[in-house]
């Protein structure tokens, strides 16, 4: 009889809290978005399932010596997982469009305004007494505006680990929602005529430029902003392996087995931060709202910079590609392409938008370096 009572008192039905039920619903929603809506499935499926596991009552999975907590300690507290993902992103990224048209880096720069505006928003909420975010927390929240998952996780892990779950969920959710969030802003801030602008075809980029680019970027980071060196250094390393042509087997593994393995454990580890006590908090709600604001401001400032550059430049620039400066690779570039096609069926912007798109990755990492330097 004692044993049966023990089974009962240790069962989920007996122990489960309302918060855990709510979080299970949230995680099933993330899984729904990933599986049925196909929004950022690699991360939403792994984070969502990790979150489910973390809300099973009375068992050590996301705590103590549980597998998810170990993955968190090994991979996120040390920063190793986001850095390895960044290496994989480097190995997967073609910087050719950026090399063909370096000016698009300014679009990637402008879109980072979303990051700093959101930082300010979070501090504003604190000033108003609505929330109580420290500078470190505000900086970690702002980075959602970078629209770059590993960067957000890396910064949150360093500056505000207790908010990591909410920040990662916000970052990936909004990256997933890019096709819904961006088009209205794009239509609002650009004229039909601007959206119809066709751009001149990109020049071919030589192998030498491709190989030298990651080394050039690394040297500039080393000289100007060492605090961004871990993130950008791993990005450059992955890209050098990709482009140098002599270590294809390493590049291949980095793009496949390695990034996949790390993605699985990164997702589960982030999911371990979706425990009910941690996640169901007013700060999560503010983070979700601020993240949305960050995305919108980033998109808008990228677009406005695009309009400005179009005026100043000798060759025509379609401002829509400025919206791709928020990163969210490659979704934001695809959205720019799609909205451009609606205005002008001859208008293939995809490759042009890839320039600001990858520039946004670099821009966010630079912003992350500044945040880490000042806020820590």
């Amino acid at each position: 009889m004692d044993l049966i009572r023990q089974i009962w008192t240790e069962s989920g039905i007996y122990q489960i809290s309302g918060g855990q039920i709510a979080m299970i619903a949230v995680c099933l929603l993330l899984l729904y978005l990933g599986i049925v809506k196909k929004f950022e499935p690699l991360l939403l499926v792994t984070i969502g399932f990790g979150g489910l596991l973390s809300n099973i009552p009375g068992v050590e999975i996301a705590t103590g010596n549980g597998l998810l907590h170990l993955a968190y300690e090994v991979g996120i507290e040390t920063g190793a997982f986001p850095l390895i993902i960044f290496m994989g992103v480097g190995a997967l990224t073609d910087f050719g469009p950026l090399l063909a048209n370096p000016k698009t880096l300014f679009l990637g720069a402008a879109a980072q305004f979303g990051i700093f505006a959101t930082l300010l928003g979070a501090l504003g909420l604190t000033q108003l007494g609505l929330m109580d975010f420290s500078l470190r927390e505000a900086a970690a929240i702002g980075i959602i505006g970078g629209a770059d998952g590993p960067t957000a996780i890396y910064v949150a892990g360093k500056l505000a680990p207790h908010l990591l779950g909410a920040i990662a969920v916000a970052a990936y959710s909004y990256m997933a929602l890019v096709p819904l969030i961006q088009p209205p802003i794009m239509r609002l801030l650009t004229t039909e005529a601007e959206r119809q602008i066709e751009m001149v075809q990109l020049r071919e980029v030589s192998k030498v430029e491709r190989v030298v680019f990651p080394l050039l970027l690394l040297l500039l980071v080393a000289l100007l902003l060492p605090s961004a060196a871990p993130l950008l250094g791993m990005l450059c390393f992955g890209n050098l392996m990709r482009e140098c042509g002599v270590v294809d087997r390493l590049s291949d593994t980095t793009q496949n087995a390695l990034i996949n393995i790390v993605t699985i454990f990164l997702g589960l580890a982030v999911g371990s931060k979706l425990g009910a006590e941690q996640f169901l908090d007013w700060s999560t709600l503010s983070i979700l709202i601020l993240g949305m604001v960050a995305f919108s401001i980033g998109t808008a400032s990228g677009l406005l910079m695009g309009k400005l550059m179009n005026r100043l430049s000798s060759t025509p620039i379609n401002p829509l590609i400025g919206a791709a400066g928020v990163s969210a690779v490659p979704m934001a570039a695809r959205v720019a392409n799609k909205v451009g096609l609606e205005a002008n069926p001859q208008n293939i912007l995809l490759m042009h938008a890839m320039g600001p798109n990858v520039a946004g990755v670099i821009g966010s990492a630079v912003a992350a370096g500044i945040m880490i330097m000042f806020a820590s």
């Binding site: 090399l99 300014f106 500078l135 430029e209």
Partner: protein, 71 residues
């Protein structure tokens, strides 16, 4: 007098955006110079993406196969 949190935020925003722009401007200049040098001294080294039809066909077949088996 203590600077308020908001003031710190504003400063960080200004300095941050400034740094982002300065850094990316330097990068634009560096890339342009590098490309100019590369094109001047090593012309004709552009990428050739060999895509004869045979490989394309096999690629497609393998992709189909992989999608099929992965499931």
């Amino acid at each position: 007098m203590e600077t308020s949190l908001l003031d710190q935020g504003i400063t960080l925003m200004l300095v941050g955006m400034g740094t982002v722009f300065v850094f990316l401007t330097v990068l634009v200049i560096g890339m342009s110079m590098m490309s100019a040098i590369a094109m001047r001294f090593m012309p004709g080294m552009t990428d050739v993406d060999a895509t004869d039809e045979e490989i394309a066909a096999i690629t497609a077949a393998i992709a189909q196969y992989r999608n099929h088996t992965k499931k």
